[in-house]
Symmetry: C2
Subunit: 201 residues, 2 copies
């Protein structure tokens, strides 16, 4: 930097530099708003950007029943980057973590494919939220009907009770997320009996 730079010139540069810093802060804040739970009159607002979150795993036709489903759905699970990074660092989900469970239809025949199944249109969207500030039971569950922009919490006896009884890390089914299971085991947050549950649901 030219040390003979005038006061005026340095002030202009300072303003530009601070502007860049604040602009960066603003971009981060906007991004953060959409990957934390937002509520409207007690309903959860549909998280629109979850396809850019971190993917945890998929299942196809996962079921409590051994009967084969002729039209199985794929289920894809996503969490926000900020929550994923905290889990990797601690083995625990931070307050305000959201899990999106996306259901997609499946097909066998299409283009060059003749065997197995691939994913097609959206068939359902459910969200699990860890939010002790909003919910006395800490975890809450929402099912978005069709393209609904908001969803009320589901009754406690459905999702909540099953997650409470069977999930490996608090209310999350880390037993089905192969990259996170060793993380939770390392930090001692993995409930080992979740692997060997005899299902009653």
């Amino acid at each position: 930097m030219n040390i003979k730079m005038s006061f005026a010139a340095s002030t202009v540069l300072l303003s530009i530099a601070l502007g860049l810093v604040f602009a960066g802060t603003e971009v981060r804040s906007q991004s953060a708003a959409s990957d934390h739970p937002q509520y409207s009159n007690g309903k959860l607002v549909r998280p629109e950007s979850y396809r850019e979150w971190v993917y945890l795993s998929s299942g196809l036709g996962m079921s409590y029943s051994p009967n084969a489903n002729p039209n199985p759905l794929f289920t894809n699970v996503f969490v926000p980057q900020w929550a994923y990074r905290q889990f990797v660092a601690t083995g625990k989900w931070p307050e305000k973590t959201m899990f999106v469970l996306e259901e997609r239809s499946s097909e066998t025949k299409g283009s060059i494919n003749k065997g197995g199944r691939f994913q097609t249109e959206l068939a359902g969207l459910a969200v699990e939220v860890k939010d002790q500030t909003e919910f006395p039971d800490k975890w809450a569950y929402f099912s978005f009907s069709g393209e609904a922009k908001e969803a009320p919490p589901n009754p406690k006896q459905s999702c909540w009770a099953c997650h409470d009884a069977n999930a490996a890390v608090e209310h999350s089914f880390v037993q089905f997320y192969p990259t996170l299971k060793p993380v939770a085991e390392k930090f001692g947050t993995y409930r080992k009996q979740a692997d060997t549950i005899a299902p009653e649901h």
Copy 2:
């Protein structure tokens, strides 16, 4: 800002502000290094952070043959955030795009699950790269054996020829990525005949 601030004080503040800007740039550059292709003596270096990239879709046991596989693999596809954003904005994959195809074993019985299939351990890792600077054929394909840290390009007559003949957008199978298919259709980059190919492979 106090307009009576001395030249020295404004210079200090300017330095701090610029430092913050440069620090931000450095963080982005480090992140960018791992989501662009890196080569070592003509081999591709294994991309280690792909599980934090954007997920495109999964298949289970996808095959050119209608015969059922008793132990089907899940295949999960990921691309870096920067390439995904450019595709969403233009319908085209930018130079240096990497696609990771992750294979995972599947199981039916585990924890509370009795039907369908869920993902378990890593079974394979393949990468497709669009890199005209490195490869005269523009697209190159790599299969990482086990936990190998580097992989040489595969022969042209395997992956390259099939992608060239059958993929919907250049060499990428967007016909199997349900959120990107409408993007490519909107931008006119979708090869419609990819939907109705009679497979010969």
